[in-house]
Amino acid sequence: MKRRELFRRSVLGSLAAAFTSVASGRPALSNPEAREFPSGHDASKELARSDWKPTFLDEHQNRTLTDLGDLIIPKTDTPGAGAAQVNRFIDHLLNAESREIQSQFLDSLAYLDGACRERYGSAFIHIPKKHQVEFLNLIAYPHRLVNWGDNRSEFPGHTHFNNLKDWISRAYYNSEAGMKELGWSGTSFHGSFSGCEHPEGAHR
């Protein structure tokens, strides 16, 4: 079975199951066939298609996510979020996520534009990189607002930033490029686990 077909089956299958269970009040039986992963199975290849287009995000949201990804995980001596197609994976995952998680993501993305419009007069992707970095510096760290005589209030920017950063970081470090950056060499067979190799008594 082609991967696309596998994916279509799993998504449509689960939607159909959810629908049946609502309609009949009785859960539909899951497909008894196991999911198998034939050798060479690699879902990430699907995302690398030259004719790729976002399916969940609109063009503006996709560009915002792409710009943000390259600022949070830039290309250094290792690839960045762009080369790892982090935006494509997130679009793919969001497409299958619950409405609640989808709206949390879109809210955080919308926060970026709202705050940038207020501060710089334009959406995040239309302000100069200098301002993008300046803005991220404002929201990237824990940030508590305290006024004399007032209750403490949390700064929403950091929450939205962390939400988006969490998606980007997970997508990147679980991509092939990200895993390689963390040292993954493609082999899983290790002869032994040597643990501490210091002489007995070295740790006091």
């Binding site: 196991a34 830039p74 793919h92 299958a96 679980n174 895993m179 950056e181 993954w184």
Partner: protein
Amino acid sequence: MRSQSKTVYDAIVVGSGASGGWAAKKLSEAGLKVLILEAGRKVPPSEFTEHMPGYQLSYRNFSPELARTRPIQKACYACTEYNYDWFVNDLENPYTTPEDKPFTWQRLRVVGGRSMVWGRQSYRLSDLDFKAASHDGYGDDWPLSYADIAPYYDEVERYVGISGRNEGNPALPDGQFLPPMAMTCGEKLLRKRVSEKLGRTVTIGRTAILTQAHNGRAPCHYCGPCERGCITASYFNSPATTLKDALASGNCDLTANAIVSQIEMDNAENQARGVTYIDRNSRKTYEVKARSIILCAQALESTRILFNSATGEYPDGLANSSGVLGRYLMDHAVGAGASGEMTDFDYKASASDPRRPNGIYIIRFRNLAGGSRHPRFIRGYGFQGGSAPKFNFGAEGFGRSYKEAVKSGLYGIRLGGFGESLARWDNYCEIDPVKKDAWGIPALRVHMTHGPNEHAMMEDAAAAAAEMLEATGARNIVMNSQLAMPGMAIHEVGTARMGKDPKKSVLDSYNQTHDIGNLFVMDGAGFVSSGCQNPTLTMMALAAKSCDHLIERFRRSEV
């Protein structure tokens, strides 16, 4: 329409996990004709994904499918995008709880059951556990002692292959171990400081993973995620070991996708005559016959079958003349502990490092025989944990500095407590009056809370964990004294307890129901108390012991 099989087996074993595997192996190798009924399907090795990197999965191991069809199962670390269809579909397999008593029930329905994904930690109970009531006056002693089960611990350990280290600590009896796995620098320091400053024993986890070739299986190659299957069969699961032996004996049949709905009785003789099962896929109903029935379906599931097999003679559930069936559900208190960072070591994590699928264990040190008694709780707890370098994905900031911080990482250290869950009458399961599973079989309603003893114990465990990390020189120590939801240890035992008195217990010391001479429950349902040690090794040893007894009874034509 019900199809009846003409074959009469000597024994039907319901469930093919750790204990069912042992029952099938012992009985079939002794020449008895055995049928194993397993509610789930077979898992071919082509489904093992332990070496498959996450990026090759559709959702890089973040699949939303888990939230849809496994909203309960996904709480288990082992239930992932790789293998979630080994776990039950929660929509098809419901159970209920009172609103104020949440309980999480983690289940697999595949050949091998939970042995496919278990945590593999293997510890003996001692007489501090078997005779706990004599020690502190709470509850009941087991109807057997350590000396009765010790030879079976030996037998099971020798066959399974448990790596570990003997420590000579009476609270955790030594065993027949393969060479231990190595400790990291942080763990060696923890062992040394905790021993010197606090007199407690930190040992390497005793785990059902091979450190050398054993019984035709290869040693561990340290790839890490055992719960996704193992092509070298280096961790113990029943399909690669006990079931394989049973099937090779020529005396054992295995029927997969057979969901047992009830036990059939010969009321005149007061004997079980067989079981009825529903084929998972075709939904057709079958009856199979045997001279003895052995439930190894997992504590709650076996008890559910007994409740659903009620007859005119046993209106409150089969073999439940005592009224004790379903009562005394236990699951270790978990969630409390502490974590921190070690700053003495400058090792960096690398995704290419070997991954040891094991941690350290701290042997119970509270309320020991002959020692002082804690003023706030009875019984005790042990810890599992570890210390190793890890990546710092949670680092603040963004850009180049974030990437560097992730890779620089931390040298973490953590301890998580496993506390004894007291056997209480008011922790119980029953049949829900309304809810049925997708095959029309009445579902369970589970009532369980952790009580004041577990709460006081876990508060002490959190403080003791922090104290031990402090003694080791850890920084940024964070404590957690919050208990996880009951069920989260996935060590549920009890509900068909053993005992000498048929009025106060369901099973005798050989896992036979007091009421019905050819009906047995050989999984964790028979536990009288939970100890604080992971229960699977004890379940396997009890099953082996009880099967030897049953084989003897067959030889004497008593069954």
